[in-house]
């Protein structure tokens, strides 16, 4: 399959006055296929934003190559940029400008006239719930609306690859979920989506493949399923109908139940063990389980394990 994004041995150093240069990216190689939903995970300062900045032309690389939809970003930057859309981490539009103008002006920068861009601008603003605010100045928008405006602006030229740098940072849960739905739909229609995120649940929910970057290097890359399968155990939370008595807990000691409160217990299942086995044993002791849920993000466990190991 053709590649949407190919990064080869990418390096980036920053000069620091009076000190040796800081290596933000130390030789990253990454391939993302067309149509993928890909996440770049990493702690603060890992090099995620530096990578996005180099890919989009906002930062100069020290060495390495970047190819977007098969086009070398160094030799044909304008052609390569037409394939990309960027939703940056920080708001970077003119807050004194009207919402619709921000989107239409961006279309203009991509060589699309106002008249030509208007129908899609209307569609995308309606889709993102901003159409009613089209004549409002951007400064009047709420934080969530501003973030959606940046998505609308990034999509106005219908990019093949959409890069989102921490798209849901500081966004409330409801809005985050609606943005996820929007991005999923966009991906299903064929747009390759690459996001950086701190919310590991976000990556687990949305992405098929992830790469974990730490200290300027990719330390793990693969499908979410592969990464999760590397966990030695899975931690679940079981909610019971009634409190479990001490005799029953004693008989279920091999399940390593940890009491959270009277009707909630944490259970750690080793690889190969099934939830069915655990539930059957509990049922035999008269314990009725009303709900089973993950203990936070499973990907988070993998992430913490990998970061700790480096």
């Amino acid at each position: 399959m053709a590649l949407a994004l190919e990064v080869t041995d990418l390096k980036k150093s920053y000069d620091v006055k009076g000190k040796p240069p800081v290596e933000a990216i130390k030789g990253v190689t990454l391939s993302i296929e067309k149509g993928e939903f890909f996440a770049l995970l990493g702690p603060n300062g890992a090099g995620k934003t530096s990578m996005i900045s180099i890919i989009t032309g906002l930062a100069n690389k020290t060495s390495g190559t970047v190819s977007i939809c098969g086009i070398d970003a160094a030799t044909e930057p304008e052609k390569a940029k037409t394939c990309l859309g960027l939703v940056p981490q920080e708001f970077n539009f003119n807050i004194f400008e009207k919402v619709l103008n921000i989107v239409l002006d961006q279309a203009g920068y991509y060589g699309i006239s106002k008249e030509e861009a208007m129908p899609y601008a209307t569609e995308i603003l309606q889709k993102l719930g901003l159409w009613e605010k089209r004549d409002a100045k951007a400064e009047a928008l709420s934080g969530g609306m501003k973030r959606r405006l940046m998505i609308a602006r990034a999509l106005i030229h219908k990019p093949q690859v959409l890069l989102l740098d921490e798209p849901t940072a500081g966004v409330d849960v409801e809005l985050r979920r609606s943005m996820w739905d929007f991005l999923r739909e966009l991906n299903e229609k064929g747009t390759t989506i690459v996001l950086t995120t701190h919310y590991l649940e976000e990556a687990e929910q949305l992405c098929r493949r992830v790469a974990i970057i730490n200290d300027g290097l990719i330390i793990k890359e693969g499908s979410v399923k592969e990464l999760l399968s590397s966990l030695a155990h899975v931690t679940l939370i079981l909610d019971t109908k009634d409190p479990v008595g001490e005799p029953a807990l004693h008989l279920l000691r091999d399940l390593q139940l940890t009491k959270i409160d009277d009707t909630s217990y944490e259970i750690r299942l080793a690889r190969g063990e099934t939830v069915n086995d655990a539930l059957r044993k509990m049922s035999m002791q008269g314990v009725q389980v009303v709900n089973v849920r993950n203990n936070g993000s499973r990907l988070e466990e993998v992430f913490v394990k990998l970061i700790d190991a480096t």
Binding site: A59, N60, L84, N92
Partner: protein, 262 residues
Amino acid sequence: MDTTAATHSPSWIGYKTMVRKEFTRIIRIWSQTLLPPVITMSLYFTIFGGFIGSQISAIHGFSYMQFIVPGLVMMTLITSSYMNTVSTFYFAKWTHTIDELLVAPMPTWVIIAGFVSGGVLRAFLSGILVVGVSLFFTHLVIHNILILLGAAFLTSLLFSFAGLINGIYAKSFDAISIVPNFILTPLTYLGGVFYSLTLLPPLFQTLSLANPILYMVNAFRYGFLGVTDVSVGKCFAVLSAFTIVFFFWTLWLFKKGAGLKK
């Protein structure tokens, strides 16, 4: 010839978008962009041209008021073009709205052309208003419209580039006012706006020849009145040379990403 394709090229649309946006901004905040030079120059006309000028004898056969009008219009062109690009560019850099342009598939020269056109546009709008105001004070003659417009255009272009360069290097709002306050204003005042070079002692006449603004003022004054202290050819040679140097300097800074890219 297929003009449709040329008119709708992506670069042209991008350029048009930048210029339209800038024109709208200049008009929207007219009290900050167009009104100040009109007020300042009206005061110059009243005080220097009216009150003091009436006591000064004719220079090159023109009343003092007529003599200083071209210089004051040129001063407006220089200040307006410079301030427009330096402030617009630095604001875009400071608010990161410059990223909108940098991520877009616009060639570097188109981005530069967009910013510079904004500077030239504001300079011309301010210049036209100041010329209009000057008509309340004196009678103006136009000796050579082509030389007048050529000098006005090249000067606005040159100072738009200069403002852009200042904006690229600037790391704070203070840095965008240093050049206008400590370099541009003194050079403009000493560039023959208020006097003819022939009135200066020989040493200061020679020193003045090192001031590039002298050539701009004289070329422009020649366009209006047909009089100049230095040859018009030399004026245009200096203007063109500086404009070319500043254009390549700007282009080099953009290509390098200096002050723009991390």
